[in-house]
Protein backbone atom coordinates (compact mmCIF):
# COMPACT_ATOMS: atom_id res chain seq x y z
CA UNK A 1 0.00 0.00 0.00
CA UNK A 2 1.34 3.41 -0.98
CA UNK A 3 2.60 5.70 1.80
CA UNK A 4 1.55 3.61 4.78
CA UNK A 5 3.88 5.78 6.80
CA UNK A 6 2.18 9.00 7.92
CA UNK A 7 5.62 10.61 8.27
CA UNK A 8 6.53 9.87 4.65
CA UNK A 9 3.10 11.08 3.49
CA UNK A 10 3.59 14.33 5.38
CA UNK A 11 7.11 14.85 4.04
CA UNK A 12 6.03 14.30 0.40
CA UNK A 13 3.01 16.60 0.94
CA UNK A 14 5.29 19.31 2.36
CA UNK A 15 7.64 18.87 -0.61
CA UNK A 16 4.92 19.55 -3.18
CA UNK A 17 3.45 22.47 -1.25
CA UNK A 18 6.91 24.04 -0.79
CA UNK A 19 7.67 23.62 -4.50
CA UNK A 20 4.43 25.25 -5.68
CA UNK A 21 4.51 28.06 -3.10
CA UNK A 22 8.16 28.87 -3.89
CA UNK A 23 7.35 29.16 -7.60
CA UNK A 24 4.35 31.38 -6.91
CA UNK A 25 5.69 33.66 -4.22
CA UNK A 26 9.27 34.34 -5.34
CA UNK A 27 10.53 35.65 -8.67
CA UNK A 28 14.20 34.69 -9.01
CA UNK A 29 15.76 31.24 -8.79
CA UNK A 30 17.95 31.86 -5.74
CA UNK A 31 15.07 33.30 -3.70
CA UNK A 32 12.82 30.43 -4.80
CA UNK A 33 15.29 27.77 -3.66
CA UNK A 34 15.82 29.51 -0.32
CA UNK A 35 12.09 30.08 0.29
CA UNK A 36 11.18 26.54 -0.82
CA UNK A 37 13.74 24.92 1.47
CA UNK A 38 12.71 27.15 4.38
CA UNK A 39 9.02 26.37 3.85
CA UNK A 40 9.73 22.65 3.60
CA UNK A 41 11.85 22.70 6.76
CA UNK A 42 9.27 24.72 8.71
CA UNK A 43 6.39 22.45 7.69
CA UNK A 44 8.29 19.24 8.41
CA UNK A 45 9.88 20.36 11.67
CA UNK A 46 6.62 22.03 12.76
CA UNK A 47 4.61 18.84 12.19
CA UNK A 48 7.18 16.75 14.07
CA UNK A 49 7.28 19.23 16.95
CA UNK A 50 3.49 19.37 17.14
CA UNK A 51 3.35 15.56 17.00
CA UNK A 52 5.66 15.30 20.02
CA UNK A 53 3.68 18.04 21.78
CA UNK A 54 0.48 15.99 21.36
CA UNK A 55 2.36 13.00 22.80
CA UNK A 56 2.31 14.85 26.15
CA UNK A 57 -1.48 14.46 26.28
CA UNK A 58 -1.65 10.77 25.42
CA UNK A 59 -4.11 8.78 27.54
CA UNK A 60 -2.47 6.09 29.62
Amino acid sequence: MIFESHLLSMVVYALFVALVMALIRRDDTKARVRYGLLLFAVMTAGALAFGWFMFLFIKK
Binding site: F16, V20, D27
Partner: protein
Protein backbone atom coordinates in the same frame (compact mmCIF):
# COMPACT_ATOMS: atom_id res chain seq x y z
CA UNK B 1 -9.80 43.02 -15.59
CA UNK B 2 -7.81 42.09 -18.65
CA UNK B 3 -9.09 39.41 -21.01
CA UNK B 4 -5.68 37.73 -21.21
CA UNK B 5 -5.60 37.44 -17.43
CA UNK B 6 -9.11 35.99 -17.25
CA UNK B 7 -8.34 33.44 -19.99
CA UNK B 8 -5.17 32.42 -18.10
CA UNK B 9 -7.18 32.15 -14.85
CA UNK B 10 -9.85 29.91 -16.37
CA UNK B 11 -7.40 27.72 -18.31
CA UNK B 12 -5.09 27.50 -15.30
CA UNK B 13 -7.96 26.30 -13.15
CA UNK B 14 -9.22 23.83 -15.76
CA UNK B 15 -5.82 22.25 -16.46
CA UNK B 16 -3.09 22.86 -13.85
CA UNK B 17 -0.25 24.85 -15.42
CA UNK B 18 -2.04 25.66 -18.69
CA UNK B 19 -2.52 29.29 -17.64
CA UNK B 20 1.27 29.61 -17.41
CA UNK B 21 1.92 27.56 -20.56
CA UNK B 22 -0.12 29.93 -22.76
CA UNK B 23 2.09 32.75 -21.43
CA UNK B 24 5.25 30.84 -22.40
CA UNK B 25 6.21 29.98 -18.82
CA UNK B 26 6.77 26.38 -19.82
CA UNK B 27 9.01 25.20 -16.97
CA UNK B 28 6.70 26.59 -14.31
CA UNK B 29 3.70 25.15 -16.15
CA UNK B 30 5.28 21.69 -16.25
CA UNK B 31 6.22 21.81 -12.56
CA UNK B 32 2.70 22.93 -11.60
CA UNK B 33 1.08 20.23 -13.71
CA UNK B 34 3.33 17.49 -12.34
CA UNK B 35 2.83 18.66 -8.73
CA UNK B 36 -0.97 18.85 -8.91
CA UNK B 37 -1.25 15.65 -10.97
CA UNK B 38 1.02 13.80 -8.53
CA UNK B 39 -0.80 15.08 -5.44
CA UNK B 40 -4.22 14.20 -6.82
CA UNK B 41 -2.99 10.82 -8.09
CA UNK B 42 -1.35 9.95 -4.78
CA UNK B 43 -4.50 11.02 -2.95
CA UNK B 44 -6.67 8.77 -5.10
CA UNK B 45 -4.29 5.80 -4.78
CA UNK B 46 -4.31 6.30 -1.01
CA UNK B 47 -8.09 5.88 -1.03
CA UNK B 48 -8.95 9.56 -0.52
CA UNK B 49 -12.42 10.91 -1.16
CA UNK B 50 -13.42 13.45 -3.80
CA UNK B 51 -16.46 15.27 -2.43
CA UNK B 52 -19.30 15.92 -4.89
CA UNK B 53 -21.53 18.98 -4.79
CA UNK B 54 -24.63 16.92 -4.25
CA UNK B 55 -25.45 13.69 -2.52
CA UNK B 56 -28.29 13.24 -4.97
CA UNK B 57 -28.62 14.85 -8.42
CA UNK B 58 -30.98 17.84 -8.55
CA UNK B 59 -34.14 17.48 -10.64
CA UNK B 60 -35.01 21.17 -10.76
CA UNK B 61 -33.55 24.58 -9.94
CA UNK B 62 -35.16 24.68 -6.51
CA UNK B 63 -33.53 21.41 -5.57
CA UNK B 64 -30.11 22.81 -6.45
CA UNK B 65 -30.58 25.30 -3.60
CA UNK B 66 -32.26 22.81 -1.31
CA UNK B 67 -29.44 20.28 -1.75
CA UNK B 68 -27.02 22.69 -0.10
CA UNK B 69 -28.80 22.04 3.19
CA UNK B 70 -29.33 18.32 2.75
CA UNK B 71 -25.81 17.08 2.94
CA UNK B 72 -24.66 14.38 5.35
CA UNK B 73 -22.34 16.91 6.90
CA UNK B 74 -22.59 20.60 5.87
CA UNK B 75 -18.82 20.96 6.25
CA UNK B 76 -18.31 18.70 3.23
CA UNK B 77 -19.32 21.64 1.05
CA UNK B 78 -15.98 23.21 2.03
CA UNK B 79 -14.23 20.02 0.93
CA UNK B 80 -16.15 20.23 -2.35
CA UNK B 81 -14.87 23.76 -3.00
CA UNK B 82 -11.31 22.60 -2.27
CA UNK B 83 -11.64 19.54 -4.53
CA UNK B 84 -13.14 21.45 -7.45
CA UNK B 85 -9.90 23.44 -7.61
CA UNK B 86 -8.39 20.41 -9.34
CA UNK B 87 -10.37 21.33 -12.47
CA UNK B 88 -9.76 18.61 -15.06
CA UNK B 89 -8.83 16.01 -12.46
CA UNK B 90 -12.03 16.73 -10.53
CA UNK B 91 -14.09 16.29 -13.72
CA UNK B 92 -12.28 13.04 -14.54
CA UNK B 93 -12.79 11.71 -11.04
CA UNK B 94 -16.54 12.38 -11.30
CA UNK B 95 -16.71 10.94 -14.82
CA UNK B 96 -14.91 7.70 -14.00
CA UNK B 97 -16.22 7.45 -10.41
CA UNK B 98 -12.74 7.73 -8.87
CA UNK B 99 -12.33 9.00 -5.34
CA UNK B 100 -15.23 7.21 -3.68
CA UNK B 101 -13.18 7.16 -0.48
CA UNK B 102 -12.03 3.97 1.22
CA UNK B 103 -12.80 4.75 4.83
CA UNK B 104 -11.48 1.41 6.08
CA UNK B 105 -7.94 2.23 4.96
CA UNK B 106 -5.46 3.93 7.29
CA UNK B 107 -4.47 6.25 4.44
CA UNK B 108 -8.01 7.57 3.81
CA UNK B 109 -7.61 10.84 5.72
CA UNK B 110 -4.20 11.64 4.25
CA UNK B 111 -5.44 10.77 0.74
CA UNK B 112 -8.38 13.14 1.16
CA UNK B 113 -6.01 15.85 2.42
CA UNK B 114 -3.77 15.33 -0.63
CA UNK B 115 -6.71 15.82 -3.03
CA UNK B 116 -8.07 18.88 -1.20
CA UNK B 117 -4.56 20.35 -0.87
CA UNK B 118 -3.95 19.92 -4.60
CA UNK B 119 -7.21 21.73 -5.36
CA UNK B 120 -6.39 24.65 -3.09
CA UNK B 121 -2.88 24.95 -4.53
CA UNK B 122 -4.31 24.96 -8.03
CA UNK B 123 -6.52 27.93 -7.11
CA UNK B 124 -3.34 29.81 -6.15
CA UNK B 125 -1.64 28.70 -9.39
CA UNK B 126 -4.60 29.95 -11.46
CA UNK B 127 -4.57 33.30 -9.63
CA UNK B 128 -0.81 33.54 -10.28
CA UNK B 129 -1.50 32.93 -13.99
CA UNK B 130 -4.07 35.76 -13.87
CA UNK B 131 -1.53 38.12 -12.28
CA UNK B 132 0.98 37.38 -15.04
CA UNK B 133 -1.67 37.82 -17.74
CA UNK B 134 -2.89 41.08 -16.23
CA UNK B 135 0.69 42.39 -16.10
CA UNK B 136 0.86 42.55 -12.30
CA UNK B 137 3.69 40.05 -12.18
CA UNK B 138 6.52 38.90 -14.47
Amino acid sequence: MKIKGIVALVLGWAVPGLGHAIQKKYLRAALFFVSIFAMTGIGLVMGGKVYPMYLEPPHNVFQVFLNLFRKENPLTILAFFADIGNGLFYALSRLFAWGGGELERATFEFGTAYIAGAGLLNFLIAIDAYDIGAGKKK
